[in-house]
């Protein structure tokens, strides 16, 4: 029975999504549309509650449930461990709110049932990535995520959207192909014979040459890193902002990229093992790539004038914070990475939703067109400023917490590793990027709330409640987490200790 329970939250949304496709010809009258919309929201909410209940009941630890045997000892197996429950909890908390937001955002768009179909399928697939008990299942759902999300990127059906989709597909599949090599290596040389996750790594050290292990780890890291927009392979994300905002916000800022980062964490701490990789050249290569991404992306964000593309670049740099945390290979590093994973998800989804709200209300997408909007849409831009401050790491907000844990983890890693220079450079890079975040986020806030006297004020109002509720919820959450984030950090710390 346990198996159904765990697999439920993964396959219920997938089933609902496909059901939506089949119902598409039937949904014609507005009455039916509202009915379907309500049903969909209820289902998504129910799914999240189910997931929450699972996490609560099992306290983050549940025995493995094998679904079916793919080939040989490769099995599709779900197992809820603490780290998985963190990511699953985050995703299931954000998804209903994003769906609610999407309802009002997609008012004017056509082909809504297909959009919401794929949107809900992605929910299930992301939960699949979170609940995966072994590297194979995670790889399967990781690859299916690409194919569940690419129709969403293509939704506007313009030639630009098609080009973005193609680029997204090539990068993701390329990444998955190289990650596959890592999976194979782990499968062949794993101590337990299967690829089930073992905190602290499952490779038996004797097997395979050391150099080869490191090379394949780096390949797999860059493979999964593509989805986490690591530097050389980040090209697809800014272009993918052509998709509707709920997609860019939820999938690219939260579910999509985060699953890439989550996969990297699983790969590093639960498959190859941090002890094996600590202090080796692989760690420095990986950390260097993350740092380069942070610097590159934050500087590009300042130069970018298109608002959503600017937020996309900001996502790229923040994702590399998580990868930097992961590359520290210490328990504190893992805890910091998870902290930033959670906090950044909330911050970025709030920022993207504000951008989306502005786009629906005023149709403006460029930063230069936003003068004086703050006075007309105070709530939206209030939340945006909260998100901006939190992104920068200003103390009363949650962003400071994750920056704090990241930097202290990096400095303690530096001192443990005999004064290695790179983590310290990492801290400097994080602070530089915080300054850049300040520049590209606060310049929007200042421009919006303190427009030039001469600038005429547009007469646009705040969007309806379905958009404002998520925004306010996120802003409030950021403040609450900022002020009393201590229990969360403690919980993450002992996840780290156990896996480090």
């Amino acid at each position: 029975m346990g198996g159904i329970l765990l697999a439920g939250p993964v396959f219920l949304p997938i089933f609902t999504g496909t059901l939506l496709f089949l119902l598409q010809p039937w949904i014609t009258t507005p009455r039916r549309q509202t009915l379907v919309r309500g049903a969909l929201l209820l289902l998504v909410l129910g799914n999240s509650i189910w997931m929450g209940a699972l996490i609560a009941i099992n306290g983050g630890e549940s025995p493995p449930q094998v679904l079916f045997r793919l080939y040989g000892e490769l099995t599709v197996m779900f197992r809820l461990d603490r780290m998985g429950s963190v990511f699953a909890g985050l995703v299931s908390f954000l998804w209903p709110l994003a769906t609610l937001y999407a309802f009002s955002y997609m008012e004017k768009e056509e082909r809504r049932p297909t959009f919401f179909g794929f949107y809900t399928i992605s929910f299930g697939v992301t939960l699949g990535v979170a609940l995966a008990g072994n590297l194979v299942t995670m790889y399967l759902f990781y690859e299916m995520l690409t194919f569940a999300t690419f129709p969403l990127v293509m939704h506007p059906m313009t030639s630009q959207a098609a080009r973005a989709t193609r680029r997204y597909l090539y990068y993701s599949i390329g990444g998955a192909a190289f990650a596959f090599l890592g999976l194979i290596y782990v499968l062949t040389y794993s101590a337990t014979g299967t690829t089930a996750f073992v905190p602290g790594g499952m490779l038996n050290p004797a097997a395979g040459g050391k150099e080869l292990t490191l090379l394949l780890y780096v390949l797999a890291f860059f493979g999964f890193g593509v989805k986490a927009a690591l530097f050389p392979f980040h090209g697809w994300l800014p272009k993918a902002t052509v998709a509707p905002t709920p997609v860019t916000a939820l999938l690219h800022a939260v579910a999509g990229l985060k699953s890439g980062a989550f996969a990297v964490l699983r790969l590093t701490y639960f498959s190859f093992g941090a002890a094996l990789l600590r202090g080796t050249w692989a760690q420095w290569v990986v950390m260097g790539a993350a740092l380069v991404t942070i610097v590159y992306a934050s500087t590009m964000a300042v130069r970018e004038v298109h608002w959503k593309r600017r937020l996309a670049y900001s996502t790229i740099s923040n994702l590399s914070y998580i990868l930097f945390g992961a590359s520290l290979m210490t328990p504190a590093g893992l805890a910091a990475a998870l902290a930033h994973l959670i906090v950044h998800a909330i911050m970025k989804i709030c920022a993207f939703f504000c951008a989306g709200a502005v786009q629906t209300q005023t149709g403006k997408t460029y930063v230069t067109e936003l003068d004086g909007l703050g006075r007309r849409m105070p709530v939206t831009f209030g939340c945006f400023t909260v998100a901006a401050l939190s992104l920068m790491g200003i103390p009363p907000f949650a962003g400071f917490l994750s920056k704090w844990s990241l930097c202290t983890a990096a400095l303690s890693a530096a001192s443990d590793a005999g004064g290695a220079a790179l983590p310290v450079v990492g801290v400097a890079v994080i602070l530089y990027s915080a300054l850049m975040t300040g520049i590209y986020m606060l310049s929007v806030s200042v421009r919006v709330f303190f427009p030039w006297r001469a600038a005429a004020l547009p007469d646009r109002r705040d969007p309806d409640w379905r958009m404002l509720l998520p925004l306010l919820l996120f802003a409030g959450l950021l403040l609450a987490l900022g002020l009393c984030g201590q229990p969360l950090l403690a919980a993450l710390a002992d996840i780290g200790k156990e896996a480090g």
């Binding site: 103390p395 001192s415 004064g419 602070l431 915080a434 300054l435 300040g438 200042v446 201590q486 950090l489």
Partner: protein, 491 residues
């Protein structure tokens, strides 16, 4: 618990003022009344809190790091100074913004800034200190932006990014200390002695980062770029407060991080101290030179702030009781003087519309009282004996000579002297032009304008008088600062 009042009451009042600004805007009297009452209350609460003392913890961030407020000597000194100066400028602001439509916005943010400043002064540990430091930057930004002209917005952004950048640079130091020292609460004399500093390799660079980072707010050399741009762009009361009080927050930040976190013993004689002294002296000289060449009057005063605040930093850099006393004294005196000067500048601009220094021909005829007060304050700033400036410069020189910092023992006083001369060079011409316009027919025409209203002239007069009186009767102030010096510099 009483300690929370001075910090959170102004924040709440300011927020209320902002939210209710539209409706209350109708009757200007009601608006001004509420504003002044709140400001007065804030000053009273601060003085009471300073008197009563006490300790409160707000929340605990991680295992051993907690955030809280505590009143100690230095905190009390800065708190009182801030409260008093803030109230005087508030009085001036009410009349200055009489016919300004957006006054409610200005008043709201004007009320919130002291909350952050008092919180800054009373912070018990680096984290709380950093929280209020950022809050102070964010709440003071709208003051700069008040004019809403293109230059104002550009200056505001520059101010924001410089201070936020500086804060992040300093944050590196805080992170390092959190990891190296284990705790961040302020401990008089600091956590490191010369011996234990050797075990923390990155301590010195961290210290330098904090000095330069917090120095941005105090207008020290590498990150001083925003000050000459932001102050003139802000309305007069705002620039007065900015120069007079907010730069002192930067000074307090450096004082706390060096004297209460790292510990002067660890830094005495190291390259960090000499770098610090070099930077401050360079700023002193640079500030005065630029002020001397600057035609626009408010910009000139801004440059003078850059150089004067670096006097204080030089004093702190000496890590010598005498230097410490001179520094703190100069903090008080400069705050009083510079606020007076800026208020005077505001009055001149408000009544005559002229902004350039050499256009003040015959100003004495229009506003003799204010010009008199201005002259007194200028003399104090230059350091003419009876006025207060002389005393602080005297102590600074004494401290330099007594401190064992090698070449700076002589270089310091020399630079201070040269800068004093330059200060005279850029402050006195308006006085001469004002009182003795001279008869040359081809000279610029005499200035014309009406007298500044009483509410504006009163604060200028008070500050001018205070500048001189403090110089004459420095006893009680110097005694208080002396006791702080002993407590502060144990090592």
């Amino acid at each position: 618990m009483f300690l929370l009042l001075p910090v959170f009451f102004p924040l709440a009042a300011g927020a209320a003022m902002l939210l209710a600004g539209r409706r209350m805007g109708k009757s200007r009297a009601l608006l001004n009344g509420f504003f002044l009452a709140a400001q007065a209350l804030e000053t009273v609460f601060t003085i009471l809190a300073a008197a009563l003392g006490g300790d409160v913890t707000l929340l605990s961030l991680t295992g051993n790091l907690t955030m809280g407020l505590r009143v100690d000597g230095v905190g009390r000194f800065f708190g009182v100074l801030t409260a008093v100066m803030w109230f005087l400028t508030a009085v001036y602001a009410v009349s200055y913004l009489k016919e300004d439509g957006h006054a409610a916005g200005f008043y709201g943010f004007y009320l919130m800034v002291p909350g952050a400043l008092i919180g800054l002064d009373l912070a018990a540990d680096a984290l709380t200190f950093y929280v209020f430091f950022e809050l102070m930057t964010l709440t003071s930004l709208p003051l700069v932006l008040h004019e809403r002209t293109k230059e104002a917005v550009r200056a505001g952004l520059k101010y924001l990014f410089y201070s936020v950048g500086g804060a992040f640079l300093a944050l590196f130091g805080i992170f390092y200390l959190a990891q190296a020292a284990g705790s961040l609460t302020f401990l008089p004399g600091g956590y490191f002695t010369a011996a234990s500093a050797a075990s923390a390799p990155l301590l010195l660079p961290a210290a330098l980062c904090m000095i330069v980072g917090f120095g941005a707010k105090a207008g020290m050399f590498p990150l001083h770029g925003w000050l000459p741009v932001a102050h003139p762009a802000a309305p007069a009361p705002a620039s007065a407060v900015l120069s007079g009080v907010i730069t002192k927050a930067g000074v307090l930040a450096i004082l706390r991080s060096i004297y209460d976190l790292i510990g002067p013993a660890a830094l005495r004689g190291t390259w960090v101290q000499s770098a610090w002294l070099i930077l401050s002296l360079l700023t002193v000289f640079l500030g005065s030179m630029l002020a001397y060449r600057e035609p626009v009057f408010k910009k000139r005063l801004a440059y003078s702030t850059v150089s004067q605040v670096s006097y204080v930093l030089f004093g702190l850099g000496l890590m010598d009781p005498l230097g410490f006393t001179g520094a703190l004294a100069h903090v008080a005196f400069h705050s009083v003087i510079k606020t007076g000067l800026f208020l005077f500048a505001g009055a001149v601009i408000r009544s005559t519309g002229r902004t350039r220094a050499e256009e003040f021909q015959g100003l004495g005829r229009i506003m003799p009282v204010s010009l008199g007060a201005y002259t007194a304050a200028s003399l104090a700033l230059i350091g003419i004996p009876p006025a207060s400036g002389f005393i602080s410069k005297w102590y600074l020189a004494q401290g330099a000579l007594a401190s064992g910092t090698g070449v700076f023992r002589y270089l310091g006083p020399a630079v201070l002297l040269i800068s004093a001369l330059l200060t005279a060079g850029y402050l006195l011409p308006p006085v001469i032009a004002g009182f003795f316009p001279g008869k040359e027919p081809e000279g610029p025409a005499l200035i014309s304008g009406e007298k500044p209203p009483a509410m504006m002239a009163l604060p200028i007069l008070l500050l001018g008088a205070a500048a001189v009186l403090l110089g004459c009767f420095p006893g009680p102030l110097l005694g208080w600062i002396g006791r702080l010096a002993e407590a502060g510099i144990v090592g």
